[in-house]
């Protein structure tokens, strides 16, 4: 009965279709999660919404794009694919990390004790600045660029659901990076310093934590993860452009808010959830509606549960 109604309404009731949308959502969500981590880590430690973060992600996409051109996309085949991709990942994450730390040093550090609106506006300005720079760099320009198609295009059918190698790659890389982040924060001295700084900056300083260095490190890690997100995005969609980070960044920010801004596990979960919301909205409503649904989620969370799903639990903030 219900099923007939759904069919009449033009809604697909095939469980395999649902499964495929779910797989898509998880893949997209992995990218959003990687970017959301950067938002949430920075917020956790300096209580700043770093609006330039989305554009740092774009920089990562383009930096890796040029890396791949430099190495030659044709060389990424067979056995060389994995080591060369590793080189691209390391170079891009290092470059992006340094970029993030530089942005913090130049634009945010001096404003650390200013009213909270000041660094926020600076962040918006930094976002436009980065977009502008990308636009004028020769070889980027206004049109989208075709990101090389390096990953194998195999796909498998598991229980009637089509799973692509690309999608698996995206999720695996994202999970590995998240796991590494988790180990770093919970298991190292620097991670401990980050947690301490997030909890109480003054107390941490009194205990001998180098605050400036710890905050710079936070920006470094967040931006490096965004850079990795940029590579994955390019490899997955094969299309990048200078304004890419604007929408992607805001969606990832929504993911961070949904999970509880400042909460690392929350950002990861929020990212996957927003990815699934996106794919379900475009799969069952239409692509045009997906952004409407995503940003409705943002507003609903802010109105009814501003602390997000997991909450910005102070003790866990990092």
């Amino acid at each position: 009965m219900h099923e007939t109604l759904l069919v009449v309404a033009g809604i697909n009731t095939d469980p395999a279709y649902f499964g495929e949308q779910l797989v898509l959502g998880i893949s997209i969500g992995a990218i959003y999660a990687l970017i959301a981590l950067g938002y949430t880590m920075v917020y956790g430690i300096v209580e700043l919404i770093n609006f330039a973060h989305g554009d740092v992600f774009t920089v990562g996409a383009f930096f890796s794009f040029f890396c791949i051109s430099l190495i030659g996309a044709g060389n990424f085949s067979g056995l060389m694919l994995i080591p060369l991709l590793l080189v691209v990942f390391l170079a891009t994450m290092l470059f992006n990390g340094l970029l993030g730390a530089t942005i913090e040093r130049v634009a945010y550090r001096r404003l650390r004790n200013s009213p909270r609106l000041t660094p926020l506006i600076t962040a918006v300005g930094m976002s436009f600045l980065l977009e502008g720079i990308l636009y004028v760099i020769p070889g980027i320009g206004p049109n989208f660029k075709h990101y090389p198609d390096l990953l194998p295009t195999n796909s498998w059918t598991i229980a009637g659901v089509n799973v692509s190698a690309k999608g698996v790659f995206v999720v695996v890389v994202a999970l590995v990076l998240m796991l590494m982040l988790q180990r770093f924060i919970q298991g190292t001295r620097l991670g401990k310093a980050m947690r301490a700084t997030a909890q109480d900056r003054d107390a941490a300083q009194l205990m001998g934590v180098d605050i400036d260095r710890t905050i710079a490190l936070t920006f470094f890690i967040g931006s490096a993860l965004a850079g990795a997100g940029g590579i994955i995005y390019g490899l997955y969609y094969n299309s990048i452009y200078f304004t890419l980070g604007f929408r992607t960044g805001i969606v990832a920010f929504t993911a961070a808010v949904l999970g509880g801004i400042g909460n690392i596990a929350g950002a990861a979960i929020g990212g996957f959830m927003i990815g699934i919301v996106f794919s379900m909205a475009s799969g069952y409503l239409s692509q045009q509606w997906s952004d409407v649904v995503i940003f409705s989620v943002l507003i609903l969370v802010l109105v009814f549960k501003p602390t997000g799903l997991l909450g910005a639990r102070v003790a866990d903030k990092a």
Binding site: N12, Y17, Q21, L24, N162, K166, Y237, N238, S239, Q287
Partner: protein, 412 residues
């Protein structure tokens, strides 16, 4: 008012004509009639304009070789509308003013680009100078549609008369023609449609949808996306797959991710992909990467090489210039027919005027009434100035390259 470059070009053209028409000096005993030719001829536009110009000059040479038209010698006034190597509406407008000022110019061939036509048409209309474009496909230049802006086409016809004609068909024929091709030739029955929400793309997709339904096909869905912020076409493709379509149609251009969509189809849905002339480009092939094969596109022009009527023209042209891409292009035959139509109309007007030099109004009327069989087939003009010769050619990607497959005469 003559610009230096215009003067130089015109004189070059004159010298050229004098040189090749040397033996026909007897042809022009009663005087000279002039035909203006305005095309983008320099810089990056050379490959567009020069082969087109060659078609026009070839027609004029043939006329003079046969003793001119009704005892008058035909002379070409060739002007370049490219500035810094790119077609320029302002330069086009200046060129047309120059044609208008020369009372010997009875009609003109050109322009090449629709936006140049927008700048030229009001001037030519006011002066009642008839023009035939070999290549403008923007339908708003001549036809009234809800999506036409700036008061077009009326604003382009301040003189109120039909003075602008074209020998190629319009973009809005492409959608229906593609639908016919999909249903009748490719035997497709169920399609999913995507468009980039722009004037060209949405118009193309809407026209395709209408005709596809008329032809008895099923449209499983039609969605638009914002090209500036959309990269994820996979959920859309999943939907198309779930609906069991046997064709995917995209209304839009290569700059709006036509090739990316085709690329993302790989591994999700394996059906042909179809679009208009906006995707019949090298950029599309690059973006679609290894999945480009099996894509179809239309072009709103005749592929003259494949037309029986074109054989005489092609043989003659080979003797006149060559068929290499520097001399011969997609619109050479169009310009040849456009110029011949003008020459024929001038002949009619001269006869009607008792063998004397006619005025532009007489030529304009004669063009509108023309019934012509030429290199690109049979041409007559409707009240808007559009050709009855609604031939659309189809291309398919095979082996990573666009290849001509078929052309149909659209009878919409």
């Amino acid at each position: 008012m003559l610009s230096i470059r215009g003067a130089a070009l015109a004189s070059v053209a004159l010298i050229g004509l004098a040189a090749c028409g040397g033996s026909t000096s007897t042809g022009g005993s009663k005087g000279t009639v002039k035909i203006g030719i305005d095309l983008p001829l320099s810089g990056n536009e050379t490959s567009n304009g020069v082969p087109t110009k060659n078609g026009a000059l070839f027609a004029i040479k043939q006329a003079n070789d046969k003793g001119g038209v009704e005892g008058f010698k035909v002379e070409a006034v060739v002007l370049d509308d490219a500035v810094n190597g790119k077609h320029d509406p302002q330069q086009g407008a200046k060129n047309v003013q120059q044609f208008v000022a020369d009372t010997g110019v009875l009609a003109m061939v050109g322009p090449f680009n629709s936006n140049v036509a927008r700048a030229e048409m009001p001037i030519a209309s006011t002066a009642n100078l008839p023009m035939i474009s070999p290549s403008n496909t923007g339908e708003c230049l001549t036809q009234t549609h809800p999506y036409c802006t700036n008061g077009e086409p009326a604003s382009l016809h301040p003189g109120g008369k039909t003075f602008y004609f074209r020998v190629c068909t319009t973009d809005n024929i492409q959608g229906p023609a593609l639908a016919d091709y999909a249903t009748k030739t490719l035997k497709k029955t169920k399609v999913y449609i995507l468009d980039d929400r722009e004037t060209y793309g949405k118009g193309l997709a809407d026209n395709f949808e209408k005709q596809f339904k008329t032809d008895g096909g099923t449209v499983a869905g039609h969605e638009g996306f914002d090209a500036a912020s959309t990269d994820d076409f996979k959920s859309f493709l999943n939907k198309a797959k779930a609906a069991g379509v046997d064709l995917l149609f995209f209304g839009g251009t290569d700059t709006n991710k036509a090739g990316i969509i085709r690329n993302q189809m790989k591994g999700i849905i394996d059906v042909p992909y179809m679009g208009g002339d906006g995707i019949q480009t090298d950029q599309f092939l690059k973006d679609a990467s290894t999945n480009a094969d099996g894509s179809y596109a239309s072009v709103a022009a005749v592929n003259a090489d494949k037309l029986a009527a074109a054989k005489t023209f092609l043989d003659g042209f080979k003797a006149y210039k060559s068929l290499s891409t520097t001399d011969y292009g997609a619109y050479t035959a169009n310009a040849y027919d456009a110029t011949n139509i003008i020459i024929q109309a001038i002949g009619t007007a001269i006869k009607a005027n008792g063998g004397n030099m006619p005025d532009r109004e007489a030529v304009r009327k004669a063009i509108g009434a023309v019934d012509y069989n030429g290199a690109i087939g049979h041409t007559t003009f409707d009240n808007n100035g559009d050709t009855s010769n609604k031939i659309i050619s189809f291309y398919q990607v095979t082996g990573g390259k666009w290849a001509f497959v078929d052309q149909i005469t659209f009878k919409g």
